[in-house]
Amino acid sequence: MLAAPNLHATPMPLEPPTESEARARERVLVLRAQRGHREAFAELVRVHERRAYAVARAITATHEDAEDAVQEGFLHAFRALDRFRPEQAFGAWLHRIVANAALDIGRRRKVRDADALPENVSLPFRDPAEHDELTRRLVAGLRDLPGRQRAVIVLHDVEGFTHGEIGEMLGIPEGTARSDLHHARAALRRRLGDLRSER
């Protein structure tokens, strides 16, 4: 007779899940959330909120707007959950929704703040190197960029999204995202090119 294996005898090493494991787990969470389990949706929120914030932050002018966009994005995603096909990547689907929420907030703010000074636009959440000349000039350079170009350069260079992913998020062709990135980099180089550092 075989003895029942003692699962608690040797502690299992805690390894991070592989990509396929993570995807399978996410699929289970999505299916449970679609059946109305709110705790499963809460778990999806915890998994995706940082990346969703990064997407929103790249598009919106302020940290507060990015927070609002993340909350609205998740709310829209929850409402549209029955239209989500589980074979899709939940993250990509969510990012599109959050990006749309961020763009909406940007449009509303544009209308509301039509008369406000441009200094209120595009200020970073935090300025860790306030006295650094590069950072100061970068803030000014970003402020002068068109909103979409600013979003594209941040999503690509800071968050590492591909041109295709950025195109999907912002509702523009991949080629446009590529060209926006090129123009944004060129503009920042022009703006910051005369900065010198000692080696």
């Binding site: 993340v70 998740f74 590069l134 180089r189 080696r199």
Partner: protein, 124 residues
């Protein structure tokens, strides 16, 4: 010691990337993310509670459909019942009187024949 461009085609573009990352750095405190997740779920919860009328509306829709179906069945039944009543009335009014007078006439004829025979026999 030399001075060289930090940004630009011949410069170190990774400086620009680093500066951008510092500028757009997300909060690192786990408590911030826990709080944000709680706020999101509170909004979701409020939304769900706010939509309590949705199931009601669904039931109302089912009720309206059921009432419509019941009305249709009732109107069909009523029409059939009227038809049946009309047929019955037709049979009662049109067909029944046509046979009754004939029978009476026959009886009358039979009766008058007898009378005639009786009159013939007892006649002087």
């Amino acid at each position: 010691m030399t001075l060289e461009p930090r940004i630009g085609p011949r410069g170190r573009d990774d400086d620009l990337t680093r500066a951008l990352r510092a500028l757009y750095a997300a909060p690192t405190d786990p408590a911030y993310w826990d709080a944000l997740a709680r706020r999101i779920m509170t909004r979701v919860g409020k939304d769900v509670e706010g939509d309590w009328s949705l199931p009601l509306a669904r039931w109302a829709r089912i009720g309206v459909i059921a009432a419509g179906a019941a009305l249709a069945v009732a109107s069909v039944a009523l029409t059939r019942s009227r038809d049946a009543q009309a047929r019955l009335a037709f049979h009662t009014i049109i067909e029944t009187p046509r046979t009754a007078p004939l029978q009476i006439a026959t009886e009358q004829e039979t009766g008058s024949e007898r009378e005639a025979t009786l009159r013939y026999v007892i006649a002087p």
